[in-house]
């Protein structure tokens, strides 16, 4: 007989409630492997904590989202939002699937070029583009999405001496009936600023207005907003066609589709509440198809989804450091990854699963990271079985934003592993080292340590 795991003795308050049809189980299941690779082996080989990405899941997400749009609309193009996860291996998976690149800084632009994305398949967004960055983008025939009039003027100056026209798009913000109103990026639709901007682009004769762009928010829980946004962009495109005699080649609806993570403070789990990509696709494409464009004039539809394509393909594996009982009597679990690594724990109640068999008794507990900082809370309350130091846990749906917004703070950032479709793990980013962190540092001679 197998030796049963040791479990600390505990005392639990008796809840004398009525039994429900789900029994008393918490529903938590152990997650012992990811895509067929044992969690234990992964931690043994790559250390703890470690991020794990599933290539199979990324591709599956991409394909099903692309299918949702491309079976409803004739010209669909995805552009991978670099800021969501710009590990080169991840970007390459998306580029292999056919994604363009959507970047928001010169740094990301260079990454995209380095990943072999042709210049004319890079969308350059964002409010902060330097003169030199714009020059490079113009040279490479990239799509420059203009955010404000300063940028527009800058582009007009840069294009003075050029023979060809740089291809640009206008970013538009608008009221889509949701709160908060995103009006800090681009030109406003309702007050006519967007129309002024696009007329200025066309009248200049120096820039080629290729598209219109909007990005109405993030983690959007309603599909209606996209219908309104698509309608307003179509209206601009149609006016542009009829009044300025210029055909808009593409409409970029941005991203903002939610993953199935549960937002903090949400009453029901994300799985049950967020609309699917199909729902968004239906609203956006039917608005575009029914707006009244002639078949051959239908603008290409670009989508810059990030989160929804990668969030559930990412896992964070970690190890229990200690158990604690707080003064209130609440149980606390200390794990070896903190908010510096799992940045999204500020936004979501991440699902955490034990990576080994456990006894069926649950207790509500708080999960703390290893940082010596009060903010380092991974979960404020979660029902988990009792775990021992050295036990391993898996945090789910962490693929988006963590591997770009993480910071080196107190501890070093962990390795990232990609499991390919043949279930082979590949190290795609190694553990940070002290040398890597100190490499750009300089010490004045008078401060050097005496040896």
């Amino acid at each position: 007989m197998e030796k049963l795991p040791y479990e600390k003795p505990y005392i639990k308050k008796l809840h004398a409630g009525v039994m429900n049809k789900f029994g008393t189980r918490s529903g938590v299941q152990p997650v012992k492997s990811i895509d067929g690779v044992l969690v234990k082996t992964l931690i043994e080989n790559y250390g703890s904590p470690v991020f794990v990405l599933s290539e199979k899941q990324i591709r599956k997400n991409y394909r099903s989202a692309y299918r949702a749009f491309s079976t409803r609309y004739p010209k669909v193009q995805f552009a991978w939002s670099y800021k969501t996860n710009y590990l080169n291996a991840v970007c390459q998976v998306f580029h292999q699937e056919g994604s363009w690149a959507e970047v928001v800084s010169g740094f990301e632009y260079e990454k995209a070029v380095g990943n072999g994305v042709p210049g004319n398949k890079i969308i350059f967004n964002g409010p902060g583009k330097s003169n030199d960055e714009l020059k490079t983008a113009i040279k490479n025939d990239s799509l420059i999405h203009i955010d404000h009039f300063e940028e527009l003027n800058q582009l007009l100056i840069l294009s003075q001496e050029l023979t060809g026209k740089p291809r640009v798009a206008i970013r538009v913000n608008m009221d889509t009936g949701v709160y908060p109103l995103w009006d800090r990026f681009g030109f406003n639709y309702e007050n006519g600023e967007a129309w002024t901007a696009l007329s200025k682009v066309i009248d200049s004769g120096k820039l080629h207005l290729a598209g219109l762009h909007c990005h109405i928010g993030t983690y959007m829980l309603t599909t209606d907003a996209y219908g309104i946004a698509a309608n307003k962009l179509c209206d601009l495109a149609m006016n542009c066609q009829t009044q300025l005699n210029h055909k808009i080649e593409y409409i970029d609806m941005g991203g903002g589709f939610p993953s199935t993570n549960t937002l903090k403070g949400a009453y029901l789990p994300g799985q049950d509440t967020v609309p699917s990509v199909d729902d968004f696709a239906e609203v956006i494409t039917s608005t575009l198809l029914n707006f009244g464009f002639a078949n051959e004039d239908l603008p290409m539809l670009i989508l810059e989804s990030g989160r929804v394509l990668i969030d559930d393909a990412g896992y964070l594996l970690g190890t229990i450091i200690a158990n604690k009982r707080l003064s209130t009597g609440k149980r606390a679990l200390i794990v070896d990854f903190g908010v510096n690594v799992l940045f999204t724990s500020f936004w979501y109640d991440h699902q955490v699963s034990p990576a080994q068999d456990f006894m069926p008794h649950n207790e509500n507990m708080v999960i703390y990271g290893p940082l010596c900082m009060n903010i380092d809370v991974i979960r404020e309350g979660i029902n988990l079985p009792l775990l021992n130091p050295g036990d391993q846990v898996v945090v789910h749906k962490v693929g988006a934003y963590n591997m770009t917004q993480w910071m080196q703070f107190i501890t070093l950032r962990p390795a990232v592993v990609l499991i390919d479709e043949q279930q082979r793990p590949h190290l795609i980013r190694s553990n940070e080292t002290l040398g890597y962190i100190e490499e750009p540092e300089f010490i004045p001679i008078h401060l050097k340590a005496n040896k």
Binding site: K60, R63, R67, S70, T71, R72, P118, N120, D141, N295
Partner: protein, 718 residues
Amino acid sequence: MKQVSAFIKSIVNSYSVLFFSQNRVLGIILLLVSFFNPISGVAGLSCVILSLLVCHLLKFHGDNLQLGIYSFNSLLLGIAFGAFYHVNFLFVIWLITACVMVTFTSVIISNHLAKSKLPMLSLPFILLFWIVLSAANSIFNTGLQQKSSYLLEEIYTGTGNIAGIEASLALALPNLVGLFFRALSAVLFLHSVIAGILISIGMLIHSRIAFSLLIISFITACALNSVTHTYPEGISYYHLGANLMMAAVAIGSFFTIPSLRSYLLAVLSIPLGFITINGLTGFMSVHALPIFSLPFCIVNIGMLCLLLQRKWTGKLQLAHIQHYSPERNLYQYLNQEQRLNDLKYIRLNLPFMGYWTVSQGYDGNITHKGDWGQALDFVITDDEQNTYQYPGTLPEHFYCFNKPVLACADGIVEAVVSHVEDNAIGKQNLKENWGNTIVIKHLNGLYSKVSHLKKNSIKVKPGELVKQGDLLAQCGNSGRSPEPHLHFQLQVTPYIGSKTLRYPFAGYFNKINGKNLLESYAIPADGLLISNAEVNSPLKKAFDLQPGYTAKLVDSNSLGQYWEVFKDPLGQLYIYCKTTGAAAYFINNGSMFYFTSFYGDKQSLLYKFYLAAYKVIFNDAEDLVINDNLPLHLTHSKALLWLQDIIAPFYRFMDISYRGNVLTKKNGLSIISKQYTIIGKKQTQTTEASVYIDHGSLQSFNITINGEHTEATWSTEN
């Protein structure tokens, strides 16, 4: 300068066209050979020049003049005049008169017969020369003095005696070989082995196929005579050459695409020729007129008339586009047979967006049976081949449910049914088995039908005009449909429930293991994952060459060549090089650009571009390989080609294949193409080229043909 060279070209063409050729070498040989009888030579050449001048004066311009069609009968007339009459003052007068008459007659007869797609051959000459002969023999004083020579005797009676130097040469050669050469020379009213040898060389250079037919017809005629003894003293060499052999070459290789069947037809023309010659000789001897090549005209025009009556052309094809070379006619025909489906079918697109799977193909084992066999069912599947999302208990769970259904081509909505309820999953409605359905009329006798649509989702009404790609309805689950799917079929009658018609889609992507394959004019098989071809707009824009498009190309020596795009009277587009006079015909069907034929100077940049961008698909997927074949006459291994030419009507052992793909560059993209000569299993790369495209326009191209490198850039002036 240009006009002078064009004029000289028409003179040479007037000679070569006698043997159905535009070959300059053959033309010059014939010109020289005609001077074997100096008077004939001078008279012939003057007649050609005179009739060309007359046509110029009367502004009968165009191809017929350039090709020598209007002037070759004058040539025959001049040669005959020289052969028949002594030169004197009246000879010149009547020669000029007759020449002008024959030119007019040529213009009239050729244009009238052309309406019935028939050639005039040497009819004007025969008619006019009969008039001249009758006039000379009449009671009035015409002043023409007839020669007496063995040639005339031969022409009049069919028996002539050989004399002079020719006789010794004729005797030195085996009987039949000598006869062969003499027969050939008879076309120019000569009786000379040397002339025949020279003409043979010219013919061999012009066409191996035509030359082989000369030999075949010669042997057949001699063999037939040895069996029938129609001519106990041997066939007259004049009739052998001017009637029997020429008739066989014309019908076997010029008016038809050379093939086994055309060769059989050529052999058949020999006995027809025999009987026509004999009959006409008897008939015309009453009037003391020789029949010349009238049997040749009658046999050929008669056979062509008959062939034109056919409703189904079968395997014996007429040469509709005449390249004046049997080889080129054959190779171009074979090549276009394979490539020009755009002109045979209407362009049918798939009736949906994105990638769908064929769940039941033609003659499927579920419902596509018998008369209703030529239909397709489509569904959407995911990577695990499921057609639905868990749990799949409602139509809404199925990927294809509620997806847009499109018009496959332009047409008029014929019938609509939209009231049938969508079934629950697993249930079928056998009473209204087609469910909600739309029938569209594309042409008289060509209708498409989509069925099992969603209830009340149909957006069109009967009588409405729809364009290709217009939204018709949403995919549903009505009728005989246990789970949502789209049924598509073509039919010849407008009724719902009509039997089906086999008809290919113009072009679609077939995705196998994540890689796309472009299928052109094909019918997708069961289980394939297909979509309409995705189009890369910059690439499409670059090749959107509309009439009026002009470009200046600059080569590495910074010499410019000017191009312009025109549309011909048949609506075909071509690029015309104003600098070199070359023309390249192309088709742009919206998803690809391809050249169909090239005419003119092979040193021109246009020819290089024709090879470099022979076929371009408007898609930038690097793994998408374009395969095609070039017509064989473009090969660079000329020696092998001659071998191939001889047997080409029956068997082709050579092939020139073209392979292209797109390479994405940091800026823009390049179309990389290679050409291979394939002989058996051995393939040799002959050509490598790349065309560079940026900012949606053609920028430059380079091509290396057998080590010879050419580069050209589009000048930015336009």
